[in-house]
Symmetry: C2
Subunit: 241 residues, 2 copies
């Protein structure tokens, strides 16, 4: 049985200002998908404490899920703590930065852009809930603490942990969907364990189509990504993740 | 500001069978008495995990409060975990054993007597709630997980942590209360920072009067105990703690 640890982060919880409900939702979700929860630590917003708890958990458990400390204000220090745990720098994630700039538009400021800061090497777990994606670093899923957002993101995590979607890659292209359809069909036949999605975007200066690669089979999504990058016109690939 | 850590113990909480409410009561109580809660760990009934978490917390915080895992069944392994953390043996506490035997009377069995098993060197934090006392070992307070009992014991702990009663000693005597009253008065005058109580017990074969020594001043309760033991008739002192 895969194992998990939860880390609930926030001074406001330890001081009693806010009563945590995220832990119980996490407990229920993990139980439902058959993941054994081995511990939950509730800790404050101190980056050293966060780093220490992350390092305690990430080597012992298959998955680590954090809640809280990822907002735009000075006391949101989860990314800093996780970066410290992994010995990584904090960088702006280009795709996240684009999303923040697009959403905030002329109101964008340094506080909003803090939402695009992640430990170097972090990837994004996207979803169709209209919110920013979940930042993940190796086996650590970094969720916001606001209960409504946390619960929405748990639904996405539930898909990943239940094996419905073990890995998700995305390839962003400047090509027309029709011009790549044959390649997608070919890879879909070659790798039946891989699920390939195609999502055209109209009027977005950033890209014209996003191809997603999902699989519950270990390694399969990576193989799918590799094969697609071989076959797709390389001058039309803007980026992939 | 003094610091504390909480440890909520129980597989049933991590699996979602039972929803924990003790953490929040602990958070509120510590906030009310001005103790800074630095972490709460929710862990399973595994003695090694318990020992590891206890050792993590007891050196970092002034107080450690545990909840759960102290009942009569095989899955109650908190005492074992705490004993392991301190490198102590598990022993039967004589006074606890007497309380258990008296309460269970002819129904007493090994399961009930498990309630008298504590890490060697543990002391008892007694109260007048009619329940078994809280077992403490150095800076670790070991509370039962049943919510009603946990909350009742938090009231007692609140007195201790708020400085109303920093240390509590008890002397059990076979003497009449009247024969020791002069000594109590003398020590009460000598040590004004010490509060001395006298509680006669009728019809108890174990002892006839219990003298309690309390103080919020560091070291004062110990001085009070010492002075009382000097002055009280030593052949009437059954035991003290």
């Amino acid at each position: 049985m895969p194992t998990a640890a939860g880390i609930i982060i926030g001074d406001e919880i330890l001081s009693g200002k806010v009563q945590d409900t995220n832990a119980y939702h996490l407990i229920r979700m993990l139980h439902d998908v058959g993941v054994e929860l081995v511990r939950i630590a509730t800790i404050g917003d101190d980056p050293d404490c966060i780093a220490e708890e992350i390092n305690f958990c990430r080597g012992r458990c298959d998955h680590v899920i954090t809640s809280g400390g990822v907002g735009p204000t000075h006391d949101d220090r989860t990314m800093e703590g996780i970066a410290r745990a992994f010995g990584r720098r904090i960088v702006r994630h280009p795709h996240l930065e684009r999303m923040v700039r697009k959403h905030w538009a002329e109101r964008v400021n340094e506080a909003a852009l803090k939402l695009a800061e992640v430990p170097e090497g972090a990837t994004l777990l996207e979803s169709d809930d209209g919110m920013l994606p979940v930042v993940t670093l190796e086996n650590v899923f970094i969720l916001p603490g606001v209960p409504q957002i946390f619960e929405a993101k748990l639904l996405r995590l539930r898909q990943v942990l239940s094996g419905q979607v073990a890995v998700l890659h995305s390839i962003y292209l400047s090509a027309d969907e029709s011009s790549i359809a044959a390649v997608l069909t070919q890879v879909d036949h070659e790798l039946p364990e891989v699920k390939i999605g195609s999502y055209p975007r109209i009027g977005d200066p950033d890209y014209r189509v996003r191809v997603t690669v999902e699989s519950a089979v270990p390694g399969a999504a990576d193989r799918g990504l590799e094969r697609l990058l071989e076959l797709l016109p390389s001058d039309r690939v803007i980026r992939y993740e």
